[in-house]
């Protein structure tokens, strides 16, 4: 999942309004962006993805940096579109993606295995949905976008220390939930705090 050495050439072509370059960029980054947007705003994810790429095409002239910077830039745009959408609708999505709409779950041909995989995925998504908004952002940006702590911090406009803390608490909460104890989004993360 990387353009690698070809990135400078592709981004230059993109700046020159080259259709093919943008097609390549879309195919490279749309899956991760779509995954992030589906986890954060399931019903509107498709529209938000379109808006994200539209803005990227419009503003690419202002972008400077490496491929990982570009990835972070795209996710920053996506998150801003997400925030705008929430402001417009005046609500935040609470429900996870319906499991029947998920792709990528086990497609083994074995009905029983598939059903178990779907249940497992459904459970995992529901667990993530119990996290606070900021914690979900950190987990999903790290998981779906493969961004580093520093890059996530830039996307969210927070300090790396704050992002580390959110990540620690989020994973601790998920771990507690899987251990059977009830989880609340704001539960203190005693698991990972090095005291």
């Amino acid at each position: 999942m990387s353009l690698g050495d070809r990135f400078p050439e592709i981004i230059q072509a993109a700046r020159d309004s080259d259709d093919a370059a943008w097609g390549e960029i879309y195919m490279e980054f749309s899956a991760a962006l779509f995954g992030y947007l589906r986890s954060r705003a399931y019903p509107e994810a498709e529209d938000l993805l379109g808006e994200t790429f539209y803005q990227a095409v419009r503003d690419v002239g202002r972008f400077e940096g490496s491929e990982s910077d570009f990835r972070a830039w795209l996710f920053t745009i996506a998150r801003h579109r997400l925030i705008d959408q929430r402001r417009r609708s005046g609500r935040r999505p609470e429900q996870p993606v319906p499991v029947e709409d998920l792709v990528g779950t086990a497609d083994s041909g074995d009905v029983e295995d598939e059903a178990l995989a779907r249940l497992s995925t459904d459970h995992a998504l529901r667990l993530v949905a119990t996290l606070s908004d900021d914690q979900q952002d950190v987990v999903m940006l790290r998981l779906m976008a493969d961004l580093s702590i520093d890059e996530v911090a830039r996307v969210l406009g927070k300090s790396p220390g704050a992002v580390k803390q959110l990540q620690r608490r989020a994973l601790a909460a998920l771990q507690r939930e899987m251990s059977g104890s009830p989880v609340t989004p704001e539960a203190p993360a005693t698991l990972s705090e090095e005291t």
């Binding site: 995954g35 790429f53 995992a124 779906m144 771990q175 005693t190 698991l191 990972s192």
Partner: protein
């Protein structure tokens, strides 16, 4: 502490990185389930959009790219020249208008005084006659010959009129029109000052021209202060009596009226 006892092995930052990158934490099997959950979340959510959505997005981007490739029509040479012409001519027109206005006023004043050279005086006199004004012609020796003398004025004539006519009668004493004009103004000012001692030099007296304004009588009338003045022209004396109604609607607190200083409302109903 309870949590730490339940999970004696702490999750380090390196462990978290591995879990979030889709790996597993070695020698810490208690985190295996969490790692598996995170992987399933990623694989479930990460997917290219459906074909129809993808097509719509790409079409939208292509349309924008198409517009980007076709920049707005660059201004033609004619358009650019027109803009430059408008800009420079606009400035020139303003300056020319100001200059011609100044020249008209100056030559009009000089013509009225009859001190222009004969040909110019004749030309202006003819032009003024066509529009109903009377200016002395160039050949006239004394432009003020028809003016009444100071001695011939009736007794009820004001001091200002007498003083000004005295200066006009002696206009030959002045080297040029400028000095003459200054002398007329000074005579009027002095006569007016002696007639209305203590009166502030306000707009009202200037508007009255040579008619002697009698501020003393105005002040004495009290309630009628401000009568005949244009709305909104403030006057120091009598403002307290003039009251709220005399303050224009646009005048806010802090306009310096005594009403404001006294804490009164400047607007009815405030």
């Amino acid at each position: 502490m309870t949590e730490l006892r339940r999970h004696p092995q702490q999750m380090t930052e390196a462990d978290m990185d591995r879990l979030l990158e889709g790996g597993s934490v070695q020698r810490k099997p208690e985190f295996d389930q969490l790692g598996a959950h995170l992987r399933s979340v990623k694989s479930a959510l990460e997917a290219t959009p459906p074909a129809d959505v993808r097509s719509a997005h790409l079409a939208q981007m292509a349309a924008l790219l198409d517009r980007t490739r076709r920049p707005e029509a660059a201004p033609t040479r004619e358009t650019l020249m027109s803009r430059i012409y408008d800009r420079t001519l606009g400035t020139f027109r303003r300056r020319a208008y100001a200059l011609s206005t100044a020249m008209v006023i100056a030559s009009g004043s000089m013509a009225a005084a009859g001190i222009l050279p004969d040909p110019a005086q004749d030309a202006l006199s003819d032009a003024a006659a066509k529009v109903g004004f009377s200016l002395p012609a160039g050949g006239e020796e004394d432009a003020t010959a028809d003016a009444p003398s100071a001695d011939s004025l009736p007794e009820e004539a004001s001091d200002v009129a007498v003083a000004v006519l005295s200066v006009i009668e002696n206009r030959d004493d002045y080297a040029n029109g400028h000095e003459f004009g200054q002398a007329v103004a000074a005579a009027a000012r002095e006569a007016n000052g002696s007639a209305g001692a203590g009166k502030p030099e306000d707009a009202g007296s200037q508007a009255d021209g040579f008619k002697p304004a009698d501020p003393g009588s105005r002040q004495g009338t009290g309630g009628s202060a401000g009568a005949g003045k244009p709305d909104g022209v403030g006057e120091g004396s009598g403002a307290g009596d003039a009251g709220e109604g005399a303050v224009p609607e646009s005048a806010g607190p802090g306009t310096g009226t005594s009403a404001a200083e006294e804490g009164q409302s400047l607007r009815p109903g405030d």
